[in-house]
């Protein structure tokens, strides 16, 4: 049975449509990623599923409980890490964890095994006030606090935003371990490169799920031809403008130290020979970021 089951959820704030017809299921032990930019509707969806906000339309169940009728039961069975750091800045690391444990009628001791892996890393600073921690450490503490009551489903709203690439990698390694304990994880991120760490992802923009699939299938369903050429920074903008004017080029954009060229079909590659030698151009597999941009076009 699905741990999280969402049916046709919609949310409006006055005239503004924040979410439109969102449906998905997430299974036990699945990492389900919700990927999209700020303002796409990710936080509204999290707030609805964690019973903090009522949907305008639709229904959803978390661990078999209805998000409207059974909100008390849901709050006991889930862990939630909101996008903004929401621990008590003037309590110490240990006091925060102990507080959250007591709110859920448990103790650090009783459930220490659940958070041990992560808490160990911040334990040397257990007497430091949470407000004095750096980004990576705050995030680890927040995850511990969300985990201490042994939740069945974890909702993590942009846990890695503003976190450096090294700490981000570490964080995803921690999530993989939690998944192995059977916890279902619903996680959102604006970083497209984190998609590959999820079992399935939903690409969201303007309140709509554009696609729900495994990362591999999203890439597999890309229906254009994608090419890449190397480009130094000098004159990149001019080269891109020139490529865009070529017949059969659907789009062209900078991608790190490369330029990605989206072609309508294979033969269009011949048209690019006016600009590049053929050995400069190579066919490549798209990344999730390429797919996201294509779906948004």
């Amino acid at each position: 049975m699905a741990k999280v089951s969402v049916k046709n959820i919609g949310k409006r704030y006055n005239k503004t449509v924040a979410l439109k017809d969102i449906s998905f299921d997430a299974d036990e032990g699945e990492i389900f990623g919700i990927i999209g930019p700020d303002g796409a509707g990710k936080t509204s969806l999290f707030r609805i599923l964690t019973t903090l906000l009522l949907p305008t339309e639709g229904s959803a169940e978390v661990c078999g409980y209805d998000i409207i009728k059974d909100y008390v039961a849901i709050r006991k069975t889930i862990g939630y890490m909101p996008g903004r750091f929401s621990l008590y800045e003037d309590l110490t690391v240990e006091e925060n964890l102990s507080f959250f444990a007591s709110v859920f009628n448990t103790t650090i001791k009783e459930n220490y095994h659940l958070v041990e892996d992560i808490y160990k890393q911040i334990e040397p600073f257990k007497d430091r006030r949470a407000g004095k921690l750096s980004g990576g450490m705050k995030q680890k503490l927040a995850l511990c606090c969300a985990m201490i009551h042994k939740p069945e489903v974890l909702f993590l709203d942009e846990p890695t935003t503003g976190v450096d690439p090294v700490s981000r990698k570490e964080f995803w390694t921690m999530l993989a371990r939690l998944k192995n304990q059977g916890i279902t994880i619903i996680v959102s991120t604006p970083y497209m490169d984190e998609a590959s760490r999820c079992d399935r992802i939903a690409l969201i923009n303007n309140g709509v799920f554009m696609k729900i699939e495994t990362p591999q299938n999203i890439i597999g369903q890309y229906d254009k031809i994608l090419c890449s050429v190397s480009a130094d920074k000098t004159g990149k903008t001019k080269i891109i403008a020139r490529i865009k004017s070529v017949d059969g080029v659907s789009d062209c954009y900078a991608f790190g130290d490369k330029i990605h060229i989206v072609l309508n079909d294979k033969d269009c590659i011949l048209n690019l020979k006016k600009i590049f030698e053929s050995d400069e151009i190579c066919n490549i597999t798209p990344t999730i970021e390429d797919c996201f941009m294509e779906l948004n076009r």
């Binding site: 700020d38 303002g39 990576g136 976190v163 981000r168 604006p190 970083y191 920074k233 990149k236 130290d257």
Partner: protein, 246 residues
């Protein structure tokens, strides 16, 4: 030497016994796009605050836009622009009111503000939004507007602190086009980012680890030096050597 608009020599900041920034030295040329990278807690923000004249160095010196950070911080503030993802514009002011406010703060002459505002909104295609509250704009628009406001007074240098966090891939690229245009006009761009693909868009990059600059070069040279394919790998190799507890 005259070409360098930022010169730091042995710049250091201690808080009690903790050395947040540890003798960093570098210079940035006019019109250069300089990427300032480092892990959380490496000392980037502290270094940036010193360069903006907001924090006095414990040791060493820095000259920004021709002025000494320690003794001429007020002059520096007039000659730089600043934008971050966290703080950029006032949400409850209209578009034109934000421009008016920041132009005034940066000392743009009264008479120039109105015509320059219209010209700017025209360039951005924002004419219709002149009277819109900033909180009603999509994030991407806000970021573009915030950047334009930060360079409205024609500063020599603009400091961008994670300007594109959370922004969608298309808008991120449009934002970088704006950075290129500013650099072509001779504005020096000093930028921090956690997106490693954006590191590739910089002319030169420095990577801070534990308060020190551990690497500084063009993206291409750094990749060659470390024998890897991407800036992500360069960053990972350097940042994981960090010893300091955050």
């Amino acid at each position: 030497m005259e070409d360098n608009v930022i010169i730091a020599e042995g710049l250091t900041k201690c808080f009690g016994t903790f050395t947040a920034v540890d003798h960093i030295s570098f210079s940035v040329k006019k019109g250069e796009i300089f990427g300032f990278l480092g892990a959380n807690g490496a000392g980037k923000t502290t270094a940036m605050r010193m360069l903006c004249g907001l924090s006095i160095p414990t040791e060493g010196k820095a000259v920004v836009a021709g002025f000494d950070v320690e003794t001429q911080s007020e002059e520096i503030k007039k000659n730089i622009g600043y934008m971050s993802q966290k703080f950029s514009l006032y949400e409850d002011l209209k578009v034109w009111e934000n421009i008016r406010l920041f132009a005034g703060i940066y000392g743009v002459p009264e008479k120039e503000i109105a015509p320059k505002t219209d010209a700017l909104l025209g360039r951005l295609g924002f004419e219709k939004e002149k009277n819109t509250l900033v909180k009603l704009l999509p994030l991407g628009w806000k970021q573009k507007l915030a950047f334009s406001v930060a360079i409205f007074h024609g500063p020599k240098i603009v400091f961008l602190d994670e300007p594109t966090g959370g922004v969608d891939p298309m808008v991120r690229r449009q934002f970088w086009n704006m950075i290129y245009e500013a650099a072509e006009r001779g504005i020096t761009v000093f930028v921090t980012t956690h997106y490693m693909d954006e590191a590739e868009y910089c002319d030169r990059i420095s990577i801070m680890v534990d308060g020190r600059i551990e690497a500084m070069d063009t993206p291409k040279n750094l990749k060659d030096e470390f024998g890897v394919e991407s800036m992500d790998e360069v960053f990972y190799l350097l940042a994981r050597t960090a010893k300091r507890a955050e």
